[in-house]
């Protein structure tokens, strides 16, 4: 092992390589790693924050659902009340309508009956007159016996 100028050459080479590494390599890689570490820490914090706000939102949502449910129940109740009210009203209205229709029908029927009766009465009078004329076979003066005939017809 003989020592020679290679020592000097190697020393110079080492100085250059170390300088290069210190100047152009180490800071870049180290900055990158540190930046990534920051990013990861930030990301974890954000995730933590996110899950916390999610929890908060879930609580809020549960409250909202409860409120909505109550509101829905109220609406349904109100609708039921109003519906039964409408039904009752309609029922009353219908009853009244029925009453009216029935009354009108009764009146009409009565009127019809009266008219038929009048007509019948007239016909009975003329039949009675014709019958009586045929039975008596003697001309009865319709004009003279009108009062009698009318009385007869009213009695039928």
């Amino acid at each position: 092992m003989d020592l020679n100028a290679t020592i000097i050459g190697q020393t110079i080479a080492m100085v250059l390589f170390v300088w290069f590494c210190m100047r152009f390599v180490w800071p870049l890689i180290m900055n990158m790693i540190e930046e990534r570490q920051t990013q990861i820490a930030d990301g974890l914090a954000a995730a933590e924050e996110g899950s916390r706000s999610l929890e908060k939102a879930e609580v809020k949502i549960a409250g909202m659902i409860d409120e909505a449910r109550t509101q829905g129940r109220d609406i349904v109740d109100e609708a039921n009340t109003r519906g039964s009210g409408i039904v009752d009203e309609a029922r009353v209205e219908a009853g009244r309508e029925r009453e009216r229709i029935v009354t009108a029908a009764h009146a009409e029927v009565e009127q019809e009956v009266n008219r038929a009766r009048e007509e019948l009465r007239g016909q009975v009078a003329s039949i009675a007159v014709a019958g009586a004329a045929r039975i008596i076979a003697k001309e009865i003066d319709a004009a003279t016996h009108k009062g009698l005939l009318d009385k007869l017809a009213a009695e039928i």
């Binding site: 020592l3 190697q10 080479a13 080492m14 890689i29 180290m30």
Partner: protein, 278 residues
């Protein structure tokens, strides 16, 4: 021993452990006849060392430039793993603010690892290729060349001295060398004997200080040299080399990684000590 030809075993081993050298003599630039000449250059060590360092730098620069935060590729993930590992090691050991230590540690661990990794290439391949290209000597593993390991440890040593002086000042640094481990004040020796104690301390501390770069480089060199020697010896065994080479290579993966890690870790520790006042 593909390229051994008519060599004897010891010639084969010798041949594999010689660097390709270039030096200037009176007759001009010559190859491989540089014994005893300090101004010789081990061309193969330098070429592999600088080549691997360049490759490493380009790779790291490429990854650093194209690094994305949210969509890292596999290569980026691997580099980040290494960078994160080095960063953790530095932060665990070194508590002061210093922009140099971490990149230094990264360069050392990755570069030394790559240079050690050359040991896993079968010992005859690259020298065989070089032989075909007309180059007679080639030592492939730069860290099995003490010049390379000393070059690195001396750089670290200079940094140790520099940061010691910068943090503690000349007085503090000299005090550290002379006033411990035996403190003349606490010993209660008369003032006239203080220089004696201080000289004793100075010898101890200087040895301790110089032992740092020495042990740093010799540990790496020794491990890699021995590992390479084992590979060469195994390559002499004919067919038996196949299972043995595999076994030793698997074991050597551990050594390669461990030595790179130890070199980095000790560098951090030494520089950390240089920053701490006693």
């Amino acid at each position: 021993m593909a390229s051994a030809g008519a060599q004897t075993s010891s010639e084969y081993i010798q041949h594999h452990l010689q660097n390709l050298q270039l030096c200037k003599t009176d007759a001009g630039w010559v190859w491989n006849e540089c014994a005893g000449n300090f101004w010789a250059i081990n061309v193969d060590s330098m070429a592999f060392s600088v080549g691997l360092g360049l490759g490493l730098s380009i790779l790291l620069r490429h990854v650093a430039k194209n690094a994305t935060i949210s969509n890292p590729g596999k290569l980026q993930a691997m580099i980040e793993l290494v960078v994160g590992f080095v960063d953790t090691s530095v932060r665990d050991t070194f508590h002061k603010e210093n922009r140099l230590i971490a990149p230094l540690a990264l360069t050392i661990v990755a570069w030394v690892f790559l240079m050690n990794l050359m040991d896993l290439i079968p010992v005859d391949w690259l020298p065989g290729v070089a032989h075909l290209l007309g180059v007679e000597r080639l030592k492939v593993v730069p860290t099995a060349d003490p010049n390379i390991t000393f070059g690195m440890s001396i750089s670290v040593f200079i940094l140790i001295i520099f940061f010691s002086l910068k943090v503690k000042g000349i007085g503090g640094f000299l005090g550290e060398l002379t006033m411990q481990p035996l403190s003349p004040k606490e010993l209660g020796v008369p003032k006239i004997l203080w220089p004696l104690v201080m000289a004793f301390n100075f010898i101890l501390e200087t040895v301790a200080l110089l032992a740092k770069p020495l042990s740093l480089s010799l540990r790496l060199f020794g491990n890699m040299y021995a590992g390479e020697l084992m590979f060469i010896l195994i390559a002499l065994l004919g067919l038996w080399q196949l299972p043995l080479h595999f076994g030793w290579a698997v074991f050597h993966i551990l050594i390669i990684t461990l030595q790179a890690y130890i070199f980095m870790m000790l560098t951090i520790v030494y520089l950390s000590q240089a920053h701490e006042a006693h």
